[in-house]
Symmetry: C2
Subunit: 335 residues, 2 copies
């Protein structure tokens, strides 16, 4: 199985934590570096959470770079503690990692990795797109250097989550998202349409909590917080799986059932549509015929249910400390 070099851009965040653990567990992903950005929490808190999670998972060797604190326009709004907790990971206390931040910024890290892995680096962005926009400014050739970019964000036909039409990752930095979506590359967008339709249930959370591995257990505890927020959305304790689903699509372990390639723009106006991903879904009625020049693949549905795959992947890898061992082996072979 081919293992792809990955750059992960995140705002860790409970579902970011799930995505990170999933990527570490995935034999198709070789995470070369992680940048953080303000979103669910500040870029600094997200970096702290990422470092601590990496240590817990036995992957402290993966470098973590601090990214943008503020969006391109305006300033960081303070995150979403009512969703992710004050500390971003559902008030779960992790042992503090002894490892420090990388000397480079997140955008610099992405550019460096793109040059180190020209044509093969995969980018997975699961926070606001501030760092990716900055990397495009630093290296206009980035689209040519990157193999694939997968973005958790937006809403095509589904409602938004922080406004009636806007999803948080995009709406937290619409100007950056507009730059990223209009750059010269094909994009896979993983919007609320598919992430809200694939739900992690309490039974799945209990499976994680029952694990002998510290990583699944910590994730299960965090999900308790996340579930309480989502109970107000779904009417029962469960959660969407935004970020880990984007990770699974990025590594290719999960296949879309319906994923039309459409034109997409970001509303950067000050109107009620600000932050909306304006995806042109008008091909719906004819089964989405090919659109010339369209470059945004919008994942609308999956071939199979995602939650069982996610839980199995995490339990298989992290149970009984296997994660740590495998991680060390992987680190050795990657060096």
């Amino acid at each position: 199985m081919t293992s792809h070099p990955f750059y992960l851009d995140c705002d860790t965040g409970i579902d970011d934590a799930l995505a990170l653990a999933y990527l570490l567990a995935s034999p198709q992903a070789d995470v070369q570096g992680i940048g953080t950005v303000s979103g669910n929490v500040s870029a600094a808190v997200g970096a702290r959470n990422t470092l601590d999670l990496l240590q817990l998972a036995g992957h402290a060797h993966i470098p973590v770079a601090l990214g943008a604190h503020d969006p391109l326009a305006g300033s960081f709004g303070g995150g979403a503690p009512w969703v992710h907790g004050e500390n971003g990971i559902g008030e779960v206390a992790l042992s503090a990692s002894a490892v420090g931040l990388a000397a480079e910024t997140a955008a610099e890290m992405l550019v460096r990795l793109a040059h180190q892995h020209p044509g093969t680096l995969r980018v997975l962005a699961i926070g606001p797109l501030s760092n990716i926009a900055e990397a495009l400014r630093l290296e206009p050739e980035l689209p040519r250097l990157v193999e694939e970019i997968t973005i958790m964000g937006g809403a095509a036909l589904a409602p938004g989550n922080i406004t009636p039409v806007a999803e948080a990752n995009i709406a937290n930095d619409p100007e950056a998202a507009a730059l990223v979506l209009s750059a010269d590359w094909d994009i896979t967008l993983v919007p609320l349409d598919v992430t809200m339709a694939n739900v992690l249930e309490e039974s799945h959370r209990q499976e994680l909590l029952a694990s002998s591995g510290p990583v699944p257990r910590a994730l299960g505890e965090m999900l308790g917080y996340y579930f309480r927020f989502y109970e107000g959305i779904y009417g029962r304790p469960c959660s969407a799986m935004h970020d880990p689903l984007a990770a699974a699509l990025a590594v290719g372990a999960v296949k879309p059932a319906l994923a039309p390639v459409v034109r997409a723009a970001v509303d950067t106006s000050s109107g009620p549509g600000r932050g909306q991903t304006v995806c042109d879904m008008r091909g719906l009625y004819a089964g989405y015929p090919e659109v010339k020049g369209a470059r945004c693949r919008v994942v609308l549905s999956l071939e199979e249910e995602f939650a069982p795959h996610l839980v199995d992947a995490l339990l298989d890898f992290f149970e009984d400390g296997e994660g740590t061992t495998a991680a060390l082996a992987s680190a050795g072979s990657a060096a």
Copy 2:
């Protein structure tokens, strides 16, 4: 069966012609006046088509008032001849009515009828909302005087039709729509979500063409033009039934299956969302719990298929000249 006094505001238009014929055929509707507005065609061409259709249907006694040529901001864009034909009714030539326009404007007619039928007048708006906005300006008490207002327009979760997110009636006068949607009344919105999902097929059109009545035959001919446009949307000759569906919901002959009452605003920005009905559909995942203060009932689906009802209603009423006879009788009793 109760017959409700109706004011119809339209931009006739092929599907407006269907809606008009349907209203005339409906025992629940007593059309007291019709105003026209620029949309599918100019307000003047729409008025001409309306007068000619009324004559063909034996309802030339119903007054037709000319309404706004231009939207509140900007000017009329020229209509949609590629959808409705240069003459607005699919290049079908109707005998010119000898009846002239009413002396009042469409907005004045609406205000007059509201005062004549306080608390019982039903308003059906199937074009841009310029006249309704003007009537609200002329008579701020209009919301109190009108029993119900039903609007064909907008897109809640469905794609738009003239932009990725905007529907033509709303987008042709977003400022007017914003005023109407924020006025002090409950609104029934009949958006593309339901009108695009309820399709008139070629077999239905053939039924109309085979009628012995001139009205169904004329409508069947117009639909030939309309179908050619919609073939590019659906991939087969058929059409959406925007306006007649709104008419059937307004008279109560068709019942919604799912019609959550939500907050709705209109995007009047100059961004890519301009003209969008920003409906807050975030209650979707919990079955649309009640939203305090929400006043826009958004029809998403129907209890039954609409096309057979529409065709039957038109054929039953207009076949063998029955329409004319019934119309004359109705005119007599209404006088």
